[in-house]
Symmetry: C2
Subunit: 412 residues, 2 copies
């Protein structure tokens, strides 16, 4: 989204976005006059656009702070806390989750169900996700929010139409997620003719799921997008590493998510640490997942309670985390040598474990990255923590409204 | 370079480029009328622009092919073979080279001096490069060409001002290349006040080297750019692998060279194949260079004549190439898993050896790349062969004229 000049035809659309983002990004609620000054639009134009954004439920006026001196202070404008919101959904190997994020980025609802998803058929898993979605929608509506869309994070390779080509750790291959979700929701939530008709076939990029546009994306990609927008001034090029039972990555280059030539980028978990190492679920040997995936760490640690045991100084746990960090460091050093990213963000289970993983990762980077001596790489835990993918998913819905408010105004 | 509408102020500049590229990219020499039809510019505008490009030495009129039927056919326009040209220079560990490429992309002069550059001090190496440059310039001028600039390829990490921060295989660290070149040329070629004055300090992005703008860049980056422009319709995202004594890479993503956040991308040679493998010149262990670098291959093969011995079926040579291919395949499979590039281009010494390297590389990709089953990766030798870096360097100079002919016209 650039704020460059545009043709007359799309001028109003452009300026609506400009005004909305002024309110979104300002340090304190700007007045109409503040926005006019910042955008070089006239007061009258700004006022008309603000009125449209208020009527559409995107902006709200708030009382100004009392001010010393003469004159009544102008009302400030903030993003609406009761307007459209985004629904984030996540399928991972050992949990399902849902969350609702409002226009201002606040998480308004969150539910996680921990359970191994591998025994279930995809249809069963998707039916439970649909249940979570229906519950989240009900919660959102009770808080006066209207869901603008949903994004579902999946730990696998996803096509633009939402087909999961492969999710090795779930054991999924060629699963049509929008169709499965629509069927699931038809069984659990309010149903309509439109749902059943749309749910019958391939649904395109956004599936009409009970009237709700749904996109499906790789979980590390959504988490990386979440991370990109979570901090006020993060680095422009970073590797987001999602540590779960599988290990994925989202690659942000010059402020943009890089999806690869055909959408299959980020399979960090299958970079070889030792080419003749242990067999991996993907069919190859010695993949990073076999050294630093959640199950490899738990096996080496001999306990499921990694965080409390690490805090307690359990030597087996510390050794396991150090070994996982070293393997992760070998792979990450390769990525830094290749891509020269400024930062590596540790997400998923790695986020809380970062204090014990980082020293080994940093040691490998110091040893292996050619430019490490003069061009430091920041290794840090994810700002969004274990929720990065599901919050990133919900945030991706909200960001389409920030980027294109006119589309939302047309819908209401 | 997009051919999109632009402001009035730069319209002529824009249209000059548009017209020049019509002549550059057409299947056969277009007439002024052809260019007017293709660009939607008026005949009068095209004629005026063509006259300027002819006067500036960028275009030439050629006799039309005899045509049946009535009417005299119009003259065709081709890129001038006696206009500006680019000088490419390359420093590698075991050779120095220079070449001149004219506006149409034809190599008009080429010189390679094989010798180990490691014993010499940087100043001595740069003095010899300056000699090569002076000789190339003399050759170009005898052919009626005028050098528009020079680009020097170096197997190391280069800053935008031409400082080589690190070239591990040359043993260089913090070498100011433009300054060294200018001193070298002052000793070997025609000198001027400007040369000596400009050569005394840091020279900025383009150094005035005897009046010639010089840029310095990583050799794999220049080779990847050469490869990108060499084929008429190459893949938009590929990894160019430069196999020499060191191994470098140029990463082209969506048709653009990706240089990394700080300019240090592409250090494929220092990705770990086996984390506890043999010590590398960089200070780490088990780097790809230790398995697939030229010296490792020669050592394993027991001969310096790789190509003839491979053709003769020498088993030790075939084994050495297969082992190198397997190590290269492990690293390249990691890159494909990470970046989802459509093709891997084998350059440098790998180009002629590709028939013996490819099977092992492809086997690793089949085994290790998650998407290999449905999203094939093309492994192929460089179109430009062993000359990719030096030809790519010269081509990068020529392309700045294709992109911005007005700048050249202002200079003449």
């Amino acid at each position: 989204m650039t704020d460059a000049p545009v043709r007359q035809a799309s001028l109003r659309e452009h300026n609506l976005g400009l005004v909305l983002r002024q309110a979104a990004n300002a340090a304190r609620p700007p007045s109409r006059a503040d926005i006019a000054a910042a955008t070089s639009l006239t007061r009258a134009t700004v006022s008309a656009l603000v009125d449209d954004l208020i009527a559409g439920g995107l902006l709200t006026e708030v009382e100004p702070a009392p001010r010393a001196g003469a004159g009544r202070p102008a009302a400030g404008l903030v993003l609406s806390a009761s307007g459209p919101a985004g629904l984030g959904l996540e399928i991972n190997v050992d949990y399902l989750s849902a969350c609702v994020v409002d226009l201002a980025g606040t998480v308004r609802h969150r539910e996680v169900r921990h359970a191994d998803q591998r025994p279930g058929r995809p249809a069963e898993v998707l039916a439970e996700v649909a249940e979570l979605a229906a519950a989240a929608r009900a919660h959102a509506e009770r808080q006066g929010l209207t869901l603008a869309g949903a994004a579902l994070a999946v730990p696998g390779l996803v096509t633009p139409t939402g087909l999961v080509r492969l999710a090795p750790n779930l054991g999924w291959r060629d699963v049509d997620v929008p169709a499965g979700l629509a069927q699931g929701l038809a069984g659990s939530g309010p149903r309509s003719e439109a749902t059943r008709r749309d749910g019958a076939g391939p649904l395109g990029r956004s599936a009409a799921l009970d009237g709700l546009p749904v996109t499906v994306d790789n979980e590390a990609n959504l988490a990386a997008l979440g991370e990109l927008h979570a901090g006020p001034a993060g680095p422009a090029s970073f590797l987001y590493v999602s540590g779960e039972i599988g290990i994925g990555a989202g690659i942000v280059l010059h402020g943009t998510l890089f999806r690869g030539a055909r959408g299959w980028s980020g399979e960090l978990g299958h970079m070889a640490v030792r080419p003749d190492g242990p067999a991996c679920r993907c069919g190859a040997r010695g993949c990073l997942e076999q050294y630093a995936g959640q199950e490899a760490i738990l096996r080496a640690a001999g306990t499921d309670d990694l965080l409390p045991q690490a805090k307690a100084g359990n030597p087996a746990v510390l050794d396991a985390l150090s070994a996982a960090g070293a393997a992760l460091g070998v792979a990450v050093a390769g990525v830094v040598n290749l891509l020269d990213v400024e930062a590596v963000v540790l997400g998923g289970i790695y986020a809380p474990l970062a204090p014990w993983l980082c020293p080994a990762v940093e040691a490998e980077i110091r040893q292996r990255v050619l430019t490490a001596g003069w061009s430091p790489v920041d290794i840090r835990p994810s700002v969004l923590g274990a929720d990065a993918a599901v919050v990133g998913a919900a945030g991706s819905v909200v960001r389409t409204i920030h980027d294109h408010p006119a589309r939302w105004l047309t819908r209401v």
